[in-house]
């Protein structure tokens, strides 16, 4: 009913050329499908049992549109072989496939009559978008996590408009961020002396060369620090040696401090005298050693510079022990420090400025200060020019005088109380605090009625496009094209998409899109048990992620087939990761393309990030892994376990140590569990040859027996290990490529892909298949779809009728007494 009303509006006010409407077209479900449903589904999904809230006999036989949501759910369950559940009567593969195809074709047909592009509401910049926008606008790198609150995510993505709410905490932190960022961008000639302490982590290791350090050094820590003014600063390195048993201090080490890779200090620590001093004098000895690395004076110009602390590399002939500071091997750290304190942490403190010698040029100032006033008379016009250029980029459109009035009054206020620079800083702050920067939205043409579909303006389209492909505001070229009204021309749009995909900024599709799609942002939460995994070090986590991002970006950026995400026989490793995977011949900290000889390492399923993300601190979880593959790779997520059931999955301990497989088998024997776990477990078990950190293993250490990675997938396909699982997935682009596409669509639109988007998703997959599954085909397909180019004006918020209880009243109507 609703769809038909909407269509009427579209007839009245459509601004879209070429939309053919067939509002009265009803598409019936073909008769043979009802026979299939009768034979395999209606035993449970009937009006008596209502299993899962579905009863097929109650659906409209003459029109699939009203029940499209349920039909799409049914297709999904069938595609993933989640239904009929294992143990129930199964259709033969050919009839299953025929039914699915017919169902999908019918739904595609029906939806063509009235394409619903969906609605995206007011969209707030999220944390990563804010950080990237600041980088684009001001050439300044900030730590957005430390400045802004956590965003909610939806459908696995943190750029979904619906849940990017604003509460007082958000607004306050956005204001605070505007202030801090504008000061950092301009520099502060009167900066007060401050001390900033960077804590070393396990990631700060000392056994391998670190990129960014001088050659011939080993390990250390490297921090990017923003210096507010040219001047003297002091660096203090602490915690190199401790009291008691001192690790590695029997040998002399040369500690080096660098600024932007240049050595500015070196000093000795360790050796016989130091060992004795610590041993005999204890704290006094330690204090004397610490003193050598205290308040080391450095001269640094304004802006962001890298400060490094590292050791001089020794030859293999010398004793090459690691020193207490920067202990990286977690197991070793525990041995040294006991379990109480964890590994020793050393700090790098940067204090200053201790003298102030003005502001020198920085990338931020070069980017921002597009003019320099030669005299007082030029100041006001120059300020207007500077703020105008910034506002255009920040607001993502040509700006008016009215837009600039606010920022200019801030400039004037600042100028009155201080220098020209102070004025500019205030103006920049005002622009960054404005909702015009923080919100993006689609402006409906005047007269658009609720429920009516409207075309996005060129400028709104430019913004949507650049946040999709770059997580960033559009650049000047894109804004100018849009302002000229040319972006919607299909050829221009296509050119722009290809230009943007070739730009390094599109790597955000790997870090922001794939990182979230594959759910590898939370690896830090796994906290591996270092008693069981003594080789684990914190630097493995960023390495895992870097590998995955480089890998995905290589395929996306080079416009390769997305199927290669599963199959590619190369990866990106540095020495740390190569050591972890047992790959020889990779030296040094930089990541480089490496051919992986073992087929087990091919594609996403062999990546440490994916395998660790699906494990617990002390063991693998075939259930988590199976459910992960079903949801993130196959797009057919299993239902959640029902509440109130015993979840004794894979945790039987005690007398006899059973393999995980044996424990799962016992669990599946319970019928209510087997319905889902019969589908989940075999997928997860096929990955059992990887331990919780993604290392290859032949044996289950707990049970002391060989790993058995064999089993049968829900459709009866036998799989034995990862290679077979991968082959299966490659043969089912309707699973893998479709899942990728659905996720990409969610990310592109900023709203979860819905049932009414599925005809588009299927079309995108078909079109991609015809073009070798090239990544750009998916992107251009999305960008040229009605879902991307148009929007549906939402119906006004529903006024809730029956108030269930006193605390469910809609906002603004809380009871007042």
């Amino acid at each position: 009913m609703k769809t038909r009303i909407a269509s009427l509006f579209l007839v009245v006010g459509s601004t879209l050329a070429g939309v053919v409407l067939a509002a009265d077209t009803k598409v019936a479900m073909p008769e043979q499908n009802w026979h299939f449903l009768e034979a395999y589904c209606s035993g449970c999904h009937n009006a008596t049992d209502w299993a899962g809230g579905a009863a097929f006999e109650t659906l409209d036989r003459d029109d699939v549109a009203p029940d499209a949501k349920l039909w799409e759910e049914a297709v999904r369950k069938l595609r993933g072989n989640l239904m009929p559940p294992p143990g129930e009567k199964q259709p033969d593969p050919a009839s299953r496939k025929a039914f699915m195809n017919s169902l999908e074709t019918t739904l595609d047909h029906s939806s063509a009559a009235d394409v619903n592009p969906g609605t995206v509401v007011l969209h707030r910049l999220n944390r990563p978008e804010y950080a990237i926008a600041i980088h684009e606008l001001l050439d300044l790198d900030i730590d957005a996590d430390a400045l802004l609150p956590r965003d909610d995510s939806s459908a696995g993505f943190d750029n979904v408009a619906d849940v990017l709410k604003i509460t007082p905490a958000f607004l306050e932190q956005y204001l605070a961020a505007a202030r801090q960022v504008s000061v950092e961008a301009m520099g502060n000639p009167a900066a007060r002396t401050q001390s900033t302490v960077y804590a070393g982590t396990q990631a700060a290791q000392q056994y391998m060369y670190m990129p960014g350090m001088p050659l011939g050094t080993r390990g250390g820590m490297l921090v990017e620090h923003t210096f507010p003014v040219d001047g003297d600063y002091e660096v203090t390195v602490s915690g190199l040696v401790g009291g008691g048993y001192v690790w590695g201090v029997m040998d002399p080490f040369t500690l080096i401090i660098t600024v932007d890779g240049e050595r500015v200090f070196q000093g000795q620590v360790g050796g016989e005298a130091d060992l004795k001093a610590i041993d005999v004098q204890q704290a006094v000895g330690v204090g004397e050693i610490d003193q050598r690395f205290r308040n080391i004076r450095i001269k640094v110009p304004t802006g962001r510079h890298s400060i490094g602390v590292t050791y001089k590399q020794k030859t293999a002939a010398e004793h090459n022990e690691v020193l207490n500071g920067f202990v990286s091997v977690a197991g070793m750290g525990q041995m040294v420090n006991g379990n109480s304190g964890g590994p020793r942490i050393s700090n790098l403190e940067i204090k200053g400025p201790l003298s102030r010698a003005g502001i020198s040029d920085t990338p931020s100032r070069r980017k921002l200060l597009v003019c320099k006033p030669a005299n007082a008379a030029q100041e006001a016009p120059c300020a207007k020019q500077i703020l105008g250029v910034l506002a255009k980029r920040a607001y993502r459109r040509p700006v008016t005088d009215a837009d600039l009035a606010g920022p200019i009054s801030f400039y004037e206020q600042g100028r009155k109380q201080g220098t020209f620079d102070d004025g500019i800083q205030k103006g920049v702050m005002a622009i960054l605090a404005s909702p015009k920067f923080l919100y993006r939205f689609h402006t409906p043409p005047p007269g658009t009625l609720p429920g009516q579909t409207f075309a996005l303006s060129d400028l709104d389209l430019a913004t949507r496009l650049s946040f999709f492909l770059w997580s960033a505001p559009p650049d000047d070229a894109l804004i100018d094209l849009a302002a000229a009204g040319r972006l919607r021309e299909p050829r221009v749009l296509d050119q722009q998409v290809h230009r943007m995909l070739a730009d390094p900024r599109a790597r955000s599709l790997a870090t922001n899109f794939a990182g979230q799609w594959l759910n590898v942002r939370g690896l830090e939460l796994v906290n591996p048990d270092t008693n069981l995994f003594p080789d684990f070090t914190d630097d493995l986590i960023p390495a895992f992620r870097e590998e995955l991002y480089d890998f995905v970006w290589d395929i996306f950026g080079n416009d390769r087939s997305v199927q290669e995400l599963l199959t590619s026989d190369y990866s990106f490793l540095n020495e740390r990761l190569a050591l972890h995977y047992g790959v020889k011949g990779v030296r040094g900290g930089e990541f480089r393309k490496v051919r992986m000889e073992q087929p087990e390492r091919r594609g996403l399923l062999g990546k440490g990030a994916v395998l660790m993300a699906t494990s617990y601190a002390n063991r693998t979880s075939p259930v988590v892994r199976g459910a992960y593959v079903l949801e993130h790779i196959m797009g057919t997520p299993p239902a959640s376990p029902p509440p109130g059931v015993a979840t004794f999955i894979e945790s039987q301990e005690g007398g006899e140590q059973l393999t995980v497989r044996a424990r799962l088998e016992a669990h599946r024997a319970v019928k209510s569990c087997g319905a889902c776990h019969g589908v989940i477990d075999p997928v997860g078990l096929s990955l059992e040859n990887y331990n919780a950190l993604g290392q290859w293993r032949a044996k289950d250490i707990d049970a002391g027996s060989a790993i058995d990675a064999g089993g049968k997938l829900a459709d009866g396909t036998p799989v034995n290990g990862v290679n077979a699982l991968r082959d299966y997935l490659v043969g089912r682009p309707d699973l893998f490529v479709q899942t990728l596409t659905e996720n990409l669509l969610t990310y592109a639109l900023g709203r979860p892909a819905q049932y009414y988007d599925m005809p588009l998703v299927r079309k995108l997959v078909r079109d991609a298949a015809a073009n070798d599954f090239r990544f750009s085909t998916l992107v251009t397909g999305i960008v040229s779809s009605p879902a991307f180019l148009t929007d549906r004006a939402p119906l006004p918020p529903a006024i809730k009728g029956a108030v269930m209880s006193a605390n469910t009243q809609p906002p603004g109507q809380e009871q007042k007494k």
């Binding site: 609605t119 956590r150 601190a617 006193a806």
Partner: protein, 441 residues
């Protein structure tokens, strides 16, 4: 002495020269001298509400006292509450029926204090929570109507759901049915929320003034935008403007207050690298906010839903969530109970801090309503009955204390919320699925 240490090397601590490089915890020690406590000027003490949530339920036979009534026994998980027994009420037999949903973890936190079944939607719609209703009534006189605090930014898989989204699983506080409030886990940001940006009193005042003009600009720009929006976006922008006005009110309130005589501790540098330190620090910040009378309402989620935090500091290397699926294995249940007992122990230290803070005629705990519990019962069964629930504090003389109450099986926990609101002077007829108020509490 514990120092603030950050896990990420990018996080930083910033202290003024002269104040010293190593600022000590706990915050309270370095805090506002009693003589300058802001609350001194207030005529009469006001109620405080703290709701402390722990995920993954409790091993119930190690939580629930055997004896009913007064002078009840304290099983291992709540043994550390012994010093507060006179002001402690353990309530048994409670259920949160509206919390029952298939993706258990993804809806459990957000329904604890609302007792409203959430809409199956990524765009959340549940119920206004207990704390926020309280904040609407007696939180308006302070610069922050409420604070929402967490320890972990995110939990493992399962705290989000593809149908319910993430909103109900990440917070226990909803300002209104559709506005979840994020739990702030970064002590530095919480500190700035409480005291403002800036390192000195003068700087803070200058920045507050500047914020007032920034907010004017923000309002004007929002009004500009509003003209080019559709109806629903206009409604969303109205929410934004409401928020702007709320901040304005807060800024005015802070600006009119003389903070110059208050000796504040330095802002924490960032997130402590150890979970236990982090939790203590967040408790300290809540106590600090109460002491400085910056807020009267706090919620605290001591660990994320589906937290996989190992408790290495008490020798338990199992991750919290998988351990909570103990399969009735006695060894695992014992370990889990130890984790839960430790959580209660930290909570007890917080109670002690409140008790040590003078407030009116008595102390802060005397004037507080503290709810401590989980919205899950047996983590192995993922159920919501019987819920581990304890009420602590004198409640300004409105709570009886020293009793273990066992209500009829499956009594709605909403009755407890309704009762607490009533005792705090917030009269309501109904809360969630409540059926009655309790005279017994």
């Amino acid at each position: 002495m514990t120092t603030f240490i950050t896990r990420k090397h990018l996080s930083r601590r910033t202290v003024l020269q002269g104040v010293g490089a190593a600022v000590a915890l706990p915050l309270l020690d370095a805090m506002i001298p009693a003589a300058t406590a802001l609350e001194k000027t207030a005529a009469a003490p006001k109620p405080r509400l703290v709701c402390v949530y722990f995920p993954h339920g409790a091993v119930m036979d190690k939580w629930t006292p055997k004896k009913q009534g007064a002078d009840f026994d304290l099983p291992p998980i709540i043994a550390s509450l012994a010093p507060f027994q006179k002001q402690l009420t353990v309530v048994s037999g409670l259920e949160n029926h509206p919390a029952i949903a298939a993706p258990v973890h993804a809806v459990t936190p957000g329904t604890w204090l609302s007792c409203v079944a959430p809409r199956i939607s990524h765009d959340p719609l549940g119920g206004t929570t207990l704390d926020q209703i309280a904040a609407q009534h007696f939180g308006q006189g302070t610069s922050l109507p409420s604070i929402e605090v967490g320890t972990e930014e995110r939990g493992g898989e399962g705290s989000c759901d593809r149908n319910y989204g993430c909103s109900y699983g990440k917070t226990i506080s909803f300002r209104d049915p559709s506005t979840p409030l994020p739990m702030e886990h970064n002590p530095r940001k919480l500190f700035q929320q409480l005291f403002g940006q800036g390192d000195t009193a003068n700087e803070r005042v200058a920045m507050l003034k500047e914020n007032q003009s920034l907010l004017d600009l923000v309002s004007r720009d929002a009004a500009d935008i509003k003209r080019s929006l559709g109806a629903r976006d206009q409604a969303l922008l109205d929410d934004y403007l409401t928020t702007v006005r709320e901040i304005e009110r807060r800024v005015d309130q802070i600006a009119s207050r003389d903070l110059s005589s208050v000796q504040l501790p330095d802002a924490p540098s960032g997130i402590p690298s150890h979970f236990d330190e982090h939790m203590r620090l967040m408790y300290d910040m809540i106590a600090l906010a109460f002491q400085a009378n910056l807020t009267r309402v706090a919620t605290y989620m001591i660990a994320a839903e589906v937290s996989n935090q190992p408790y290495n500091f008490i020798g338990i290397s199992d991750a919290f969530h998988p351990l909570s699926h103990h399969a009735n294995n006695p060894q695992k249940m014992e370990k889990l109970a130890q984790v839960q007992a430790w959580n209660t122990g930290e909570f007890a230290k917080f109670l002690k801090k409140l008790q040590d803070l003078p407030d009116g005629e008595g102390n802060m705990l005397d004037n507080s309503f503290v709810l401590f519990g989980s919205n899950m019962s047996d983590s192995n069964l993922h159920n919501h009955y019987p819920l581990p629930t304890a009420i602590v504090g004198g409640g300004m003389g409105k709570l009886k204390g020293n009793q273990h109450l066992k209500f009829a099986d499956r009594t709605p926990i909403a009755n407890v919320h309704l009762t607490l609101l009533d005792r705090m002077g917030v009269p309501m007829e109904k809360f969630g699925d409540s059926t009655q108020k309790f005279v017994e509490i």
